[in-house]
């Protein structure tokens, strides 16, 4: 799933830009949007069944009709929402989260955390077509769920009896006494890293009984407790699946030009210096 952030002050035309982008993206895949709301949205109606469920203690309530649905809930963050959407949508357009580390269009000089794809005073200063192309050059937002969904879509899935996965995550400490890691930062040799990952994928898929393989490694900052890397395999049987996952992550760690810097409260050290 590709994620695009649109950040800017309230009169800069964020929603207009989101509309233009959604129209283009909807031609290419399924689109979800997320909007940051300053006030609690007024979606349900007091006395309706779903409102009564919430009032009785349900944290979340979904109303499902044949071709429409809505949901209400309490706290919900951007990351957990993106994680859920990644499984089923091709694009997520996010309005109003300038602090999120996602590829962003900045309107009205708004500061933002993620990589800048375009900027302008208002929506009319931004070329929506170019923006959509630039978005496709960015690293997609993947989760274990989105990769599993992808491999399940393989044309060989009817013969597949096994899915095996590996998830590498940021370990906060090795021992109880260790200085805790705050985050890792990964640098990538773009182009070459992707080629190497594709080679590993192709080699594994060439094995008898392995039908589909997906590998994904995040770059940039990954915080303690977050997931870094995924290797996901669809195979006829479990033996081939487990072996391919293990070989996949071993080869990735050995061959792919990615570089890890570990940052604790005390210092920042490149992994290879240890």
């Amino acid at each position: 799933m590709h994620v695009l952030g649109v950040a800017g002050p309230s009169d800069a035309g964020k929603t207009t830009l989101v509309e233009r982008v959604c129209e283009r993206l909807a031609e290419r895949g399924r689109v979800a949007t997320i909007k940051h709301c300053t006030h609690a949205p007024d979606v349900d109606t007091e006395g309706k069944d779903t409102a009564r469920h919430r009032a009785a203690g349900a944290a979340v309530s979904y109303g499902l009709a044949d071709d429409a649905w809505f949901a209400t809930g309490g706290d919900r963050g951007l990351d957990e929402t993106l994680d859920e959407l990644a499984r089923s949508y091709d694009y997520a357009v996010v309005e109003g989260y300038s602090g999120a580390r996602i590829p962003t269009v900045a309107l009205g000089g708004r500061d933002h955390a993620g990589r800048r794809l375009a900027a302008g005073e208002t929506a009319s200063d931004v070329d929506a077509a170019a923006l959509v192309e630039a978005l496709h050059d960015c690293e997609p937002y993947e989760t274990l769920g989105s990769l599993v969904a992808r491999i399940k879509a393989s044309s060989d899935s009817d013969r597949a009896g096994a899915i095996a996965t590996f998830t590498g995550r940021v370990r906060e400490r090795d021992d109880h006494d260790d200085t805790p890691t705050e985050y890792l930062e990964f640098e990538k040799y773009e182009g070459v890293a992707e080629e190497q990952l594709a080679t590993i994928r192709d080699d594994l898929c060439a094995r008898d009984g392995v039908f589909e393989v997906a590998l994904h490694h995040r770059t940039g900052i990954v915080e303690a407790g977050e997931d870094i890397v995924f290797v996901v395999v669809l195979a006829g049987h479990r033996r081939e699946a487990f072996r391919a996952v293990e070989d996949g992550i071993d080869r990735l760690k050995e061959e792919v030009p990615l570089f890890k810097k570990e940052v604790t409260v005390e210092d920042a050290v490149w992994a290879h210096e240890r």
């Binding site: 760690k253 030009p257 490149w270 290879h272 210096e273």
Partner: protein, 90 residues
């Protein structure tokens, strides 16, 4: 042609991209890089002046020591060379 540098090598050099003119081989391009950034020498060369084992060098994404003539591999304008320490993904 240009060098891409990563991790500690980029930090030592103070930049992650270094242009080189007038080099005909990988070896000449490496000499040019080290002339421009002498601080890199202690990280990439051993006492004999040859490349330290754990430093990896790529020429347009390929390893010239595995599939070419090593430092004698010819280079052309527009080529991309890369120098990096052991990879540490995953």
């Amino acid at each position: 042609m240009h060098w891409r540098l990563f991790a500690t090598l980029a930090e030592t050099a103070g930049e992650d991209r270094v242009s080189v003119d007038d080099a005909e081989t990988v070896g000449e391009a490496l000499d040019a890089l080290l002339s421009a950034h002498p601080a890199l020498e202690s990280e990439v060369l051993d006492d004999d002046g040859s490349l330290v084992d754990h430093i990896r060098l790529l020429h347009d994404g390929d390893d010239p020591f595995a599939a070419g003539d090593g430092l004698d591999t010819p280079v052309s304008p527009g080529d991309e060379l890369a120098l990096f320490p052991p990879v540490s993904g995953g």
